[in-house]
Symmetry: C2
Subunit: 355 residues, 2 copies
């Protein structure tokens, strides 16, 4: 039997880490990315939570590692079909290229919630209203601040759960990382503008991970960031290039009004568009979806099909997850693929001996 | 070079899954467990969140898998020292047995918070006050209910964050799984006692994981479980074998009193005692600890030492984690160990060639 080949669809953190892990186990990898460069959503980040680690450093070292003789990276390639043929898969691109592989890992990631859908916040209408992604780009200098340089003490608000835990827009799930991301961004903003007044509007502060709770304490004690339990009802323009927000403080039981220089919408994680289009094109069986995210056959491994093994999923295509969890999941999935290929190989050898 | 051997310290879910993964990669494993049986804290569970999967089934299938020619399980063995010798480690037991290995994984798990430390809740004094672990044992029939069988509609309360997010008792961290565990247990209790009245007392409802938010909705809509934002101030005995609790409802801004037939303390996760005793006995370098949990050199892998590689940690000895995350972490760590051993082997071969 030949050295096995695995196709990985999506070269974000999950795909990159799965590829590196498989290559170290002497497995050949075809890594497909529809964008020009690998990196996925990680490319947009400035620093990571909770350790404020430099995102560019992590991305660079990860991309260096995929320069491996076993890994072939194909960028600007859109995969349109995955077809089963005996115990192998034929992966077809839009350009009608075909790739044969012994297993497939789907690592198509997530899309950010489209903030224009929450019309009441005025995203795309008022320039002061930005997304958490855009704020990250302001931190790393790729985008201008939405307020004048003369303002020494900008007033900023962060709205948690935009497009998450929201039955109105159909996204009932919690996006898991927005709370800690908001706290990280609020601290980073205060570091750049020490005189800024910063408020976070939340429902539940889900600071569940290692080091998150400490970050939350630090935000309150060292950076004087205000945490207000309540959902913003609306944002509207105000005098002097500000945005006016109304909220209900549900702990104080009182309505609340603020004029802000910047309103950051913590946009949630939604299923990748590719995945849902693509699901129509798997011609032998569709993966199970849960709210648009791939649902593995059980929670304790990454196998997608009970009866058609060999297709796996890793990372945020399965649901919202932190980067640290995505990396661990990618390595764990690489191991599952390795174990699957080894078993397949043994089956083939037994078959060859007995026939 | 010989086939490498890895020592794994602790045969809970992390140790078991790391052992199985390494064995599948043709690595020999010594798996040490100080208890009589493997399984760790998983042995106490009845059903798992969020899918209500049967804990016994999962444990049984995992334990079946460690019957592997590459895995040697040593139970009732207490490891007292890990000593470096060239590129290997000498693992010594209390019985002065020595085991040589090429890498070590610490999977010593966690201990549950000792509820008697929160004197105001009266655990150990009032029989109606139980821990979440004891409730699990009531579900699987290993322990009696704390109220009379004649009570058809028992009143039950769940206190979140007992020994977590609590500066008074020195445990500042969030234990990550208590919120979802409380919701799971509240639903399970209502299934057994459909007429029961159940309240959960919480600070923030941290239902962050896949399927958690849906479970929370289900608890409210299908099971009529009450969620009260507020911390219990105290519990005291009341007439008729009940326990009286006082709380502040911070959303309604009003004090609240209830007489309960059962008060469940959601005890948090604390560092394993073994780990902290043991840390004194690693004679070459101590691992870094953060609040008693092992802190790897960086967040993106499980290596404990920057300058003394070959010792890894997996699972809850690094901090609170769900079972699903622990399993993925164990597999990911097994892969990291595999990559480390492969590199070591190459180094030795290069050395042998050049000398």
């Amino acid at each position: 039997m030949q050295q096995p080949t695995v196709s990985i669809i999506g070269a974000g953190p999950a795909g990159l880490n799965a590829a590196i892990s498989l290559a170290k186990m002497e497995i050949r990898v075809n890594l497909f990315e529809k964008q020009v460069k690998p990196g996925g959503q990680l490319s947009h980040w400035h620093t990571l939570f909770p350790d404020m680690y430099d995102a560019k450093t992590l991305l660079k070292s990860t991309i260096n590692e995929i320069s491996h003789p076993h890994i072939k990276l194909y960028t600007t390639v859109n995969i349109r079909q995955i077809k089963r043929q005996n115990n192998q898969w034929i992966i077809s691109s839009d350009g009608n290229q075909e790739f044969i592989s012994d297993a497939v890992i789907i690592t198509s990631g997530f899309n950010l919630f489209d903030a224009t859908k929450k019309e009441e916040y005025g995203y795309g209408i008022y320039p002061q209203v930005i997304t958490s992604l855009e704020l990250e780009q302001m931190f790393n200098g790729r985008r201008e601040w939405p307020f004048s340089k003369d303002i020494e003490a900008p007033k900023a608000g962060f709205v948690h759960c935009v497009g998450s835990r929201d039955t109105k827009c159909g996204n009932n799930w919690c996006s898991k990382v927005c709370c800690v991301k908001a706290v990280k961004q609020a601290i980073e903003f205060k570091k750049q503008f020490p005189k800024a007044e910063v408020s976070c509007f939340y429902m539940d502060l889900r600071m569940f991970g290692k080091g998150y709770e400490e970050l939350y304490m630090k935000a309150q004690v060292d950076f004087n960031i205000q945490f207000i339990r309540g959902r913003l009802s609306e944002a509207s323009p105000s005098n002097g290039n500000k945005v006016h927000v109304k909220a209900e403080d549900t702990l104080m039981n009182r309505p609340l009004k603020q004029n802000l220089d910047m309103l950051v919408l913590m946009v949630g994680m939604t299923p990748a568009i590719w995945l849902n289009q693509h699901a129509e094109r798997i011609d032998f069986e569709k993966p199970k979806f849960k709210q648009g995210f791939i649902n593995p056959v059980e929670n304790y491994q990454s196998t997608i099909y009970q009866n058609t093994p060999g297709v796996f999923a890793a990372g945020t295509c399965k649901g919202p997850a932190s980067l640290i969890d995505v990396i661990q999941d990618a390595k764990a999935t690489a191991f599952e693929v390795f174990a699957y290929l080894k078993k397949e190989k043994q089956n083939v050898e037994i078959l060859e001996k007995t026939t």
